[in-house]
């Protein structure tokens, strides 16, 4: 079973501690969500895993093999990032052609099919593409590469709603057709919440949560109802956040979700979503 092991990785840029003793593991055939605010250290971590930059300390292994600047390990990954590492003169169709040299399982048919689905202009230079189409080009490359590990750093950057929808469907289709490990690093949590199996939440360079998404969300719930009624119910409860709209109040509560028959009439209960959970964590609240 292939797995990437990140052990005690630290990285400092000048006076900024970008990563602080990070230890995580990416197992085989799972969709991971690497979630964090801007500047939390998500991209730095992925860049270190793919040897684009080096860690100050720590260990990186793929099935026990040292990954740092190692062809064998790097060849099993494709990283989609905001940065452009393609030559200025290279066209989209040329990049697909070249990719076959580097990724033995690169599927040109898939690349062409996806390019068509996104209306990606094939004869344009990569550097001349708009931000959205540059992202689309990289998405196509990533999925056509058939690499066992896809590291997708902000994969919907610059995409419009329609293309974002295509992307999320693609993730599911690709995973169903040929499972692989995907690490989706993003700050758009609400959008990825439905597709990620395992959450890693990073804050100020430290991993503060590393658990299956389902498990995390079992530790809280949301409740809504008329303000007066809800205020009465909330006494003694661990209120993580609340909001009022007209006479209706909604609150996020820590703890296990109650049965509906335990609730007063007029109050509705629902699962806490990942975004609400994330916001609580970022605000310093700890959902037990």
């Amino acid at each position: 079973m292939s797995k990437i092991n990140v052990k005690n990785i630290s990285k400092r840029f000048g006076s900024t501690q970008a990563l602080d003793n990070v230890s995580i593991e990416f197992g085989e055939n799972k969709i991971y969500g690497l979630l964090g605010n801007n500047g939390a250290g998500k991209s730095t971590l992925l860049k270190i895993i793919t040897s684009r930059i080096f860690a100050d300390s720590g260990e990186l292994t793929l099935d026990g093999m040292n990954m740092v600047d190692n062809d064998k390990a790097l060849g099993q990954m494709y990283m989609l990032s905001e940065d452009n590492y393609y030559p200025e003169s290279m066209k989209v169709n040329e990049a697909f052609m070249r990719a076959e040299m580097f990724y033995p399982n690169f599927d040109s048919d898939v690349a062409l099919e996806l390019a068509g689905r996104f209306n990606l202009p094939m004869k344009k230079k990569i550097t001349a593409l708009s931000t959205g189409y540059t992202t689309i080009f990289k998405i196509v490359m990533a999925f056509a590469s058939n690499a066992p590990f896809l590291l997708l750093d902000e994969p919907v950057l610059g995409l419009d709603a329609q293309h974002r929808d295509i992307f999320y469907k693609l993730v599911i289709e690709r995973y169903a057709a040929s499972p692989c490990t995907m690490v989706i690093s993003t700050h758009l949590i609400a959008e990825v919440a439905g597709i990620i199996e395992h959450c890693m939440i990073i804050k100020d360079g430290r991993i503060i949560k590393d658990a299956p998404a389902e498990e995390l969300l079992q530790n809280g719930y949301t409740i809504s109802g008329p303000t007066a009624l809800l205020d009465e119910y909330l006494v003694g409860k661990e209120v993580l956040s609340s909001s009022n709209l007209g006479g209706l109040k909604t609150a996020a509560i820590g703890g296990r979700m109650p049965n509906t028959d335990e609730l007063p009439a007029g109050i509705e209960v629902g699962k806490m979503n990942l975004q609400e959970y994330f916001i609580q964590l970022m605000n310093g609240g700890e959902v037990q």
Binding site: K47, T50, S51, R52, I53, F54, M65, N66, D69, N70, D71, K72, L74, G75, Q76, M77, Y78, M79, D83, N84, Y85, Y86, P87, E88, R98, A99, M101, F102, Y103, T127, A147
Partner: protein
């Protein structure tokens, strides 16, 4: 254990070089054919008027038995028939490989890493490919020399004394191209690894050296020229270069040593190089 994936890296670099070389050689051969035609015209006609008709306004041409001079504004090309001194095809290609070394190394480094190849692979692939290119260019350029040798377009001095010692001078010529590429890569990587302050200092220093060297190169007389000459020790460098290039073996050894220095430098610069985006 790091298993190098050299095959895709070399394939990519050779593919790029194939097209770049094809264009460059096509241009070089076109120039030579054009010159051949020009010399042919001037050799077989004793009339300046006929040749002048071929030129556009502002150009002039002087024809005698052995010499053609074309004066286009401030650029003067001296087509001297015996011995030929005007078209140093080997120098042109060495310069081209130097520029490829400068531009290619950073581009390849980024592109290869995006496609799962390590820095070590990038470096080793570039060494093998530049060596292969050096040998190939040497052979092709020798053929070009041979094909056009009767027209005496080429320099007869330097590391190309005659066609007879071809195999003896092959390593020196191939190493010249190899060194040009590796030296270009070295300069490029050195600049790439510098921080902003170092880049500014480097750029100013390099600019200053060029500005200081220009007066020396054009031998401006006077105290300034003497001071610069002494300060930069051009005479010492010239004497050293003359000593080592007087024979082919010396040239080969010098180029080998310089190439080795560049390779070591490139290794040290590339091994921990962070990958920066194209700007």
């Amino acid at each position: 254990m790091n298993t190098l994936r050299l095959k895709p890296a070399m394939r990519y670099q050779l593919n790029y070089m194939f097209w770049a070389s094809l264009i460059a050689f096509a241009i070089a051969i076109a120039v030579l054919v054009l010159l051949t035609l020009l010399v042919g015209v001037t050799s077989y006609t004793d009339s300046v008027e006929i040749v002048n008709e071929l030129l556009t306004d502002g150009d002039s041409i002087v024809v005698d038995d052995v010499r053609v001079i074309i004066d286009i504004g401030s650029i003067q090309m001296d087509f001297e028939a015996t011995p030929g001194v005007f078209f140093n095809i080997a120098g042109v290609f060495a310069m081209m490989l130097f520029i490829i070394g400068i531009g290619g190394v950073r581009e390849d480094l980024r592109f290869f890493l995006q496609h799962g190849l390590s820095r070590k692979t990038t470096l080793i692939s570039s060494i093998i490919v530049s060596l292969a290119i050096g040998i190939t260019y040497t052979l092709i350029i020798e053929l070009v020399y041979l094909a056009f040798s009767s027209f005496n377009f080429f320099p007869s001095s330097g590391i190309r004394p005659s066609m007879s010692g071809f195999f003896r001078r092959l390593p020196a010529q191939a190493l010249m191209y190899f060194f040009a590429w590796q030296f270009g890569s070295f300069i490029s990587l050195l600049y790439y690894r510098m921080n902003k302050a170092a880049k500014i200092i480097f750029s100013i220093t390099a600019g200053a050296i060029i500005l200081l060297a220009v007066p020396r190169i054009f031998a401006i007389p006077g105290i300034i020229g003497t001071i610069i000459s002494l300060a930069l020790s051009f005479d010492i460098a010239s004497a050293f270069a003359a000593g080592t290039t007087a024979n082919v073996l010396g040239t080969t050894l010098l180029l080998l040593a310089l190439s080795a220095v560049c390779i070591i430098g490139n290794f040290l610069l590339i091994r921990r190089a962070p990958i920066k985006e194209f700007s």
